[in-house]
């Protein structure tokens, strides 16, 4: 179950905590994995560590042309058409709305929503033709609950869910699935900066009584990327320890 032998996957944001865990998991299940990220040295090192079947393709997804070209670039380095796309890259520019600049809004919407759309669009062309493919978009619990100081991020992540449902309807008849994984609070450098008091408060709201690990997210991605998830599309899989039950 859940083997990905012979499959080729692209993981964006693979230099980050969750992205690298996803890449490791897919690779361990037999997939050829192309790591993408802005920090070339980091993804190259991870690709070297994973060894055979791991490749890297740097891209700055805030540039529309680089996002557009990444699918072809990934297929070139892997030497095979793309079977699995994991849109994991994202960034935050937190600020209370009344202080938020257009630039902060636009940058987050561009990288967290427009870039995944561009990657989906480019990947779908081949997937639809081949009548097979898996797209897994990484959203966030914040897209469901909202969060003070994250109007831009919440909008992008909620938008990702609506986009994925639409793409799922378009691509379904061709055997391509599009799903979302919405992580809750995961232990990564991004959440390490939270104060202990904040963490305590968070923990008390999580029935499973711990913060998530990147591997918890990676396992959910693996399921949705596998053949076994063949009758699941347009779904959002919440991986948040029960903090929000949507």
């Amino acid at each position: 179950m859940f083997r990905l032998d012979g499959k080729t996957a692209l993981v964006t944001g693979a230099s980050g905590g969750i992205g690298s865990a996803i890449a490791r998991t897919l690779h361990a299940q037999g997939a050829r994995v192309v790591l993408s990220g802005t920090r070339e040295a980091v993804i190259r090192e991870l690709a070297e560590e994973l060894g055979e079947g791991a490749f890297y393709a740097a891209a700055n997804l805030s540039e529309p042309s680089e996002a557009e070209a990444l699918i072809t670039k990934a297929e070139d380095v892997a030497g095979a058409p793309l079977d699995i796309l994991v849109n994991n890259a994202g960034l935050t520019r937190d600020m209370l709305a009344i202080r938020m600049k257009d630039e902060d809004w636009n940058q987050v919407l561009n990288v967290d929503l427009a870039a995944p759309f561009r990657l989906c669009r480019a990947a779908l062309k081949g997937m639809l033709r081949r009548r097979a493919g898996r797209i897994v978009n990484i959203a966030s619990v914040i897209g469901t609950t909202g969060n003070a100081g994250q109007a831009n991020y919440a909008a992008a992540k909620a938008g990702m869910v609506g986009m994925s449902k639409s793409l799922a309807q378009e691509a379904g008849p061709r055997g391509v699935t599009v799903n979302v994984v919405a992580p809750g609070f995961i232990v990564t450098p991004m959440t390490d900066v939270l104060a202990d008091a904040q963490k305590e408060k968070l923990l008390s709201s999580i029935p499973l009584a711990r913060l998530g690990q990147p591997d918890d997210v990676a396992s959910a991605v693996l399921y949705l990327a596998s053949d076994e998830a063949r009758w699941v599309t347009g779904a959002t899989l919440h991986v948040n320890g029960g903090m929000v039950m949507a």
Partner: protein
């Protein structure tokens, strides 16, 4: 029959998996050849690739039959 018409027919047969005899000039992709909306988009993309032409969205909408496709591409190629 022109070279373009031949090639269009071949692409239609390949993409829609229909009998070549059904691909007459008057045949409508959706009504006669069983295409859905996604098929028509894929067909247009296939034409663009095969003939190295760009077919903008408003022109693509008007291409509903085999003849529409042939005429449009012939016009582009002649221009």
């Amino acid at each position: 029959m022109s070279e373009i018409a031949d090639k269009v027919k071949k692409i239609v047969v390949e993409h829609l998996g229909v009998e070549e005899s059904k691909v007459t000039p008057e045949a409508s992709f959706i009504d006669d050849l069983g295409a859905d909306s996604l098929d028509t988009v894929e067909l247009v993309m296939a034409f663009e690739e095969a003939f190295n032409v760009e077919i903008p969205e408003d022109a693509a909408e008007k291409i509903t039959t085999v003849k529409d496709a042939i005429d449009y591409i012939e016009k582009q190629k002649a221009a």
